[in-house]
């Protein structure tokens, strides 16, 4: 993921979601609330309030940067790997499902590994794909990992080759440490 991509993606796109959200909430009752509260409130059960897109995109991008690290990739370990193997069968099956979700989210959106605190089928880990700015928060899950599949995330480096971008993300970028840390928090909150 090139410096050029990062400076556009973070320096322009992500920055403008922040700038635009600040303008939108100024002087309103949303001002002073936490970002997560703004997101949930403006999601408004799907009947989006204007500030939702900006608020959620700020959060989503913060989360995206945290989902990666230099020298990332490889496989998870410990409790995270155990749960992945329990809920997907194997790490390989999880990876396949995650890549497929990322590749098939039509238009703009995100793919996620998320924690479901109240699973009806006993599977706490789920792969989700969401359109535009929607994220697991508003669906009642705890996000653990995300990949941005808006074209602005990969077009400069990969053009239309989204599957190549997804492969590189999995092989070289994903920070399993960050995912494990988020899982610990999620399990503690669910307990």
């Amino acid at each position: 993921m090139s410096a050029n991509t990062m400076s556009y993606h973070w320096g322009k796109h992500h920055r403008s979601y922040v700038d635009n959200l600040n303008k939108q909430i100024l002087g309103t009752e949303l001002q002073g609330k936490s970002l997560e509260d703004v997101i949930v409130q403006t999601y408004n059960n799907g009947d989006l309030h204007p500030a939702f897109n900006n608020a959620a995109q700020v959060w989503n991008h913060d989360f995206f940067w945290d989902s990666m690290k230099p020298g990332g990739g490889g496989k998870p370990s410990g409790e995270l790997l155990k749960l992945i193997e329990r809920d997907f069968g194997s790490f390989e099956k999880f990876a396949e499902e995650f890549r497929a979700a990322a590749a098939t989210q039509f238009g703009s959106g995100w793919a996620w590994l998320a924690f479901n605190p109240r699973p009806s089928d006993g599977k706490e880990l789920v792969v989700l794909k969401t359109p535009n700015a929607v994220n697991p928060l508003v669906l009642g899950y705890t996000a653990l990992l995300t990949i941005d599949v808006w074209e602005h995330a990969y077009y400069l480096d990969y053009q239309n080759r989204r599957p190549d971008y997804i492969s590189i993300f999995m092989e070289k970028l994903v920070s399993w440490d960050a995912v494990s840390a988020k899982l610990e928090v999620a399990k503690a909150q669910a307990a």
Binding site: G107, P131, A133, Q159, N160
Partner: protein
């Protein structure tokens, strides 16, 4: 205007170099060996306007529309072709580079064609016109797998046709009259169109369309008419959605008028 039948294609936002390009009507033939052809926009004539095609008030029957295009034998396989833009890939420079068009048309648009062909082979969609596939697979909003590819083919065909080298400027004739009638002025329409294009969040399209007032029963009167019926409207749509599906009761005679600009990011990079 009440008896008006027909549709328009809009015009590009390219700069005006003062040259008139006669825009020849091409009746898009989107299937390799189609028994019938349903072009997305039944343009009846052109008036040599820079970048704009305007229909006359002459009524063109559905039968004539279907004759437009290649005469073909019975289909062996009903594969869709990737239709090229009606100008060379570098013809829109410096406003839209050859590079962009070769990616946008050559990879993205082509991908939709190839993927749709794979999806429909051996199914009951195989052999249907593109528009019929779109409307059927839109499935009143509960979209079926082939919708995205089919609609994106149609949308992109239309997008290339919405532009012309040295386009831009202003429309005239019937088109300008209707724009002034329904938006107040060309400038007001333009502001509305630009604003819609800037505010479509995520991927999508912006359109100039003609909103008819129809029901699916002949001679019925629409019990819920709106102020926008029988008017030009600016509308925006997400992802692959297009105005065809919002008025999916469109007959083969009436066509929705569209001019649109694509807001998927690949169009800009």
């Amino acid at each position: 205007m009440e008896n008006y039948r027909g549709c328009f294609v809009g015009y590009a936002q390219a700069s005006n170099l003062g040259r008139h390009y006669p825009c020849l009507l091409r009746c898009p033939s989107t299937m390799a060996a189609a028994a019938t052809i349903s072009p997305p926009c039944a343009l009846l004539s052109y008036q040599g306007l820079r970048g704009a095609l305007v229909s006359t008030r002459t009524f063109q029957s559905a039968k004539n529309q279907r004759q437009c295009g290649r005469a073909v034998a019975a289909p062996i396989s009903a594969k869709f072709d990737l239709k090229p833009p009606p100008y060379p890939l570098d013809a829109l420079e410096p406003h839209m580079s050859r590079d962009t068009i070769s990616y946008h048309w050559g990879k993205h648009h082509r991908g939709y064609v190839e993927n749709l062909n794979m999806q429909i082979v051996g199914t009951d969609l195989d052999g249907m016109s593109l528009e019929d596939i779109i409307i059927l697979s839109y499935n009143k909003g509960d979209i079926l797998p082939s919708f995205n590819n089919a609609a994106q083919i149609w949308n992109h065909d239309f997008f290339w046709e919405s532009m012309v080298p040295n386009g831009g400027g202003k429309p005239s004739g019937d088109l300008l009259e209707l724009i002034e009638r329904d938006f107040g002025s060309f400038e007001k329409f333009s502001a509305k169109f630009r604003s819609a294009a800037s505010t479509q969040f995520g991927s999508g399209w912006v359109w100039l369309a003609y909103k008819a007032n129809r029901l699916n029963v002949g001679n019925a009167i629409n019990p819920r008419p709106s102020d926008e019926d029988k008017k030009l409207v600016v509308v925006k749509s997400p992802n692959a959605v297009n105005p065809l599906v919002w008025d999916y009761l469109v007959s083969t005679i009436h066509r929705i008028a569209v001019c649109h600009c694509s807001l998927h990011i690949h169009r800009f990079i």
